[in-house]
């Protein structure tokens, strides 16, 4: 009966309830949409970042992170890799050699970051593959072929099929160089990547750096379920306990990206908090007005023997109904819009500069997708609903101040 009474009571002032429910729904929908959008962009950045680098979890020589040197490599991590590949949630593993060198042509020389990759693995995940604008990406049978960025190609006047000399120091420190031919040119839109990164087959770089067969500076683990990162890292750490190898999460490999996401998430949180505060203000106003308007009715109910706690419970139910309807509306609208953006994406190309947008060296695709998770949908709605109930408790205090005889006079 109390439920019926509370439900009917919220519809006494139909227009006010509709306005309140709409404002909750609208505010929540906006909050959900922007959280999903931001999480989608973060997920996209992390996905591209880790695929461009060495995965969600990177295994390296323990000293490599502090002083990256080509002689700090992992010696034949094949058995370890095979074992990690059996883990569920591991999409694939990749061996990488990261080194420095100088690319020289007849027109000049430029310092470059050389990345030795397994072409057959890289084609499955690297965001660079989609950005080839001339020629092709590497294949496993390539030996001295390389893929370079458009900015580097422009500086050295290189085109597909042209040659350059890659000069570097091998693991003994001796100067070494080899002639390479450009298989393809990519253009990600990032100055850092297009002007600096060179992809070469890992076999070719092992030979250039005089590294043992099967070795690499990194063993990267790409996860199919990024949320299981900590779990997988722990399992991997159990495998490498006595092997002089350290496992790093991507947050330590790409600290700038991790900091950017943390900072952006924080500022988003403030925005969402302000939005939710505004919603709550509307709710508070509605509930409080509704209590004030019914002073006489509450006084009568108290007079005939209703315990104040029961009236407070009725108000709590009314707030719950208003919050619940508003949250359902917000979930439907915000969820639907976010799902649409997740499924279809939205092309921001027109808003971009010619250089494109990159964050911490990771290029943001012009097509952005939202990321919808039950946690975002239910968490955000839950916060609004819980805050609504908490706010209603402020209004409930009014029940204790009702002077029955004065009000009924």
């Amino acid at each position: 009966m109390l439920i019926r009474l509370a439900w009917r009571s919220i519809w006494r002032n139909r227009r006010r309830t509709i306005i309140t429910v709409t404002s909750i729904g609208f505010g929540l929908a906006i909050a959900i949409f922007f959280i999903c959008l931001a999480e989608g962009v973060y997920a996209q950045l992390v996905r591209d970042g880790v695929r461009l680098q060495s995965g969600h979890i990177t295994l390296e020589h323990p000293e490599y992170r502090n002083a990256p040197a080509i002689d700090l490599f992992l010696d034949r991590p094949d058995s370890l890799r095979a074992e990690i590949n059996t883990f569920s949630d591991v999409a694939l593993t990749k061996l990488v050699i990261l080194g420095q060198g100088v690319a020289k042509t007849g027109t000049g020389s430029v310092g470059v970051a050389v990345m030795g990759v397994e072409p057959s693995v890289e084609v499955l995940l690297s965001p660079i593959i989609k950005t080839i604008i001339s020629g092709r990406y590497l294949v496993d049978s390539d030996n001295s072929k390389i893929v370079i960025g458009s900015k580097l190609a422009k500086r050295l006047h290189l085109k597909e099929g042209k040659k350059l000399v890659l000069t570097t120091n091998d693991i003994t420190g001796a100067l070494t160089e080899d002639l390479c031919r450009v298989a393809g040119i990519f253009e990600t839109g990032s100055e850092e990547i297009d002007g600096y990164i060179v992809h070469a087959p890992i076999r070719f770089l092992r030979a250039l750096y005089n590294m043992p067969e099967g070795s690499a500076t990194q063993l990267g683990i790409v996860l199919s379920a990024p949320e299981s990162q900590n779990k997988i890292k722990k399992r991997v750490e159990a495998l490498i306990i006595n092997k002089h190898i350290t496992a790093y999460p991507w947050q330590e490999i790409l600290p700038e990206l991790a900091s950017y996401i943390k900072l952006d998430r924080g500022s988003n949180l403030i925005f969402q908090a302000i939005l939710i505060f505004l919603i709550l203000f509307t709710i508070f106003n509605t509930i409080f007005m509704s209590v004030l308007e019914r002073n006489r009715e509450f006084a009568m109910l108290l007079a005939i023997g209703t315990h104040p706690a029961l009236l407070k419970y009725q108000l709590l139910l009314e707030s719950f109904f208003i919050g619940l309807i508003g949250c359902c509306a917000g979930l439907i609208f915000g969820g639907t819009a976010s799902y649409a953006l997740q499924a279809k994406g939205f092309d921001l190309a027109n808003l971009y500069t010619a250089e494109g947008a990159s964050i911490s060296g990771v290029v943001l695709s012009s097509v952005i997708h939202a990321r919808v998770t039950p946690m975002i949908l239910l968490g955000t709605s839950g916060i609004v609903l819980a805050a609504t109930l908490l706010l209603s408790m402020v209004s409930m205090k009014r029940i204790d101040t009702i002077q029955i005889t004065d009000t009924l006079r």
Binding site: L5, R8, E297, G305, L310
Partner: protein, 228 residues
């Protein structure tokens, strides 16, 4: 016979300092089971204040209030609330029904407070509404009922929990004389048949004429007392 209401030396003062209003100045009353008592007097004579004190909605400045031999002066808010729920029915001048509940639900509310099962309370309430002449109107909302019909619902609500005493604050003030007469018939019948004790405050001469006892209040004191 144990009285249902026993008031001794009741005074009630309002205000502070130099500006004190003496609303009641030493009232002694005894109401016995089955009484049909009216309390009359000019506006400001203290009728409503006295009803509020008897119902425990207000506390006297001095004196003792006993309801069924229980002194209620020292009872807590919760105890008083329970006393009103279980032993005292209240009827207000302006009906005070819950607008979003039907006649049946308004009457049922008091039994819900007592924790009575739905089926049982609905059966009782249907019978009560029939008794107060509202058969077939159980599912009407207050806005769909006339003033007299709304007051009948209020009467049904007041007697639903089978209280020892029904206090009615000018129950016929907001209805025309014909309706008022009908309401009085009803309350008189409930008094006679169900032995429900009634205490009214009223300005209505018809009510005064039909009461078994009449208390006349003036300036916070009982000025006259009459029995049938």
């Amino acid at each position: 016979m144990n009285p249902i209401v026993k008031l001794q030396g009741i005074t009630k003062d309002y205000g502070q300092g130099d500006i004190i209003v003496h609303a009641l100045r030493g009232i002694d009353i005894t109401i016995n089971p089955g009484d049909f008592t009216a309390m009359a007097g000019p506006s400001g004579s203290g009728k409503s204040t006295l009803l509020n004190i008897i119902s425990g909605l207000d506390r006297p400045t001095s004196g003792t209030v006993e309801i069924e031999n229980l002194t209620i002066n020292t009872m807590s808010r919760t105890e008083l609330s329970r006393l009103r729920r279980d032993r005292i029915g209240l009827i207000f001048q302006s009906y005070n029904l819950i607008p979003v509940l039907t006649a049946l639900e308004n009457t049922e509310y008091i039994l819900m407070l007592k924790g009575m099962p739905v089926k049982e309370r609905q059966d009782i309430v249907r019978e009560l509404l029939k008794e107060v002449g509202l058969e077939g109107m159980e599912n009407r909302f207050p806005r769909e009922l006339s003033g007299g019909q709304q007051q009948r619902v209020a009467i049904a609500r007041a007697i639903a929990s089978e209280p020892a005493l029904v206090l009615a604050d000018e129950p016929t003030a907001n209805v025309d004389s014909k309706t008022a007469s009908g309401l009085l018939d009803l309350m008189e019948r409930l008094n006679k048949e169900k032995k429900i004790t009634f205490l009214f405050s009223t300005h209505d001469k018809n009510v005064m004429a039909r009461a078994d006892k009449l208390l006349w209040l003036k300036d916070g004191k009982i000025n006259d007392y009459r029995t049938a």
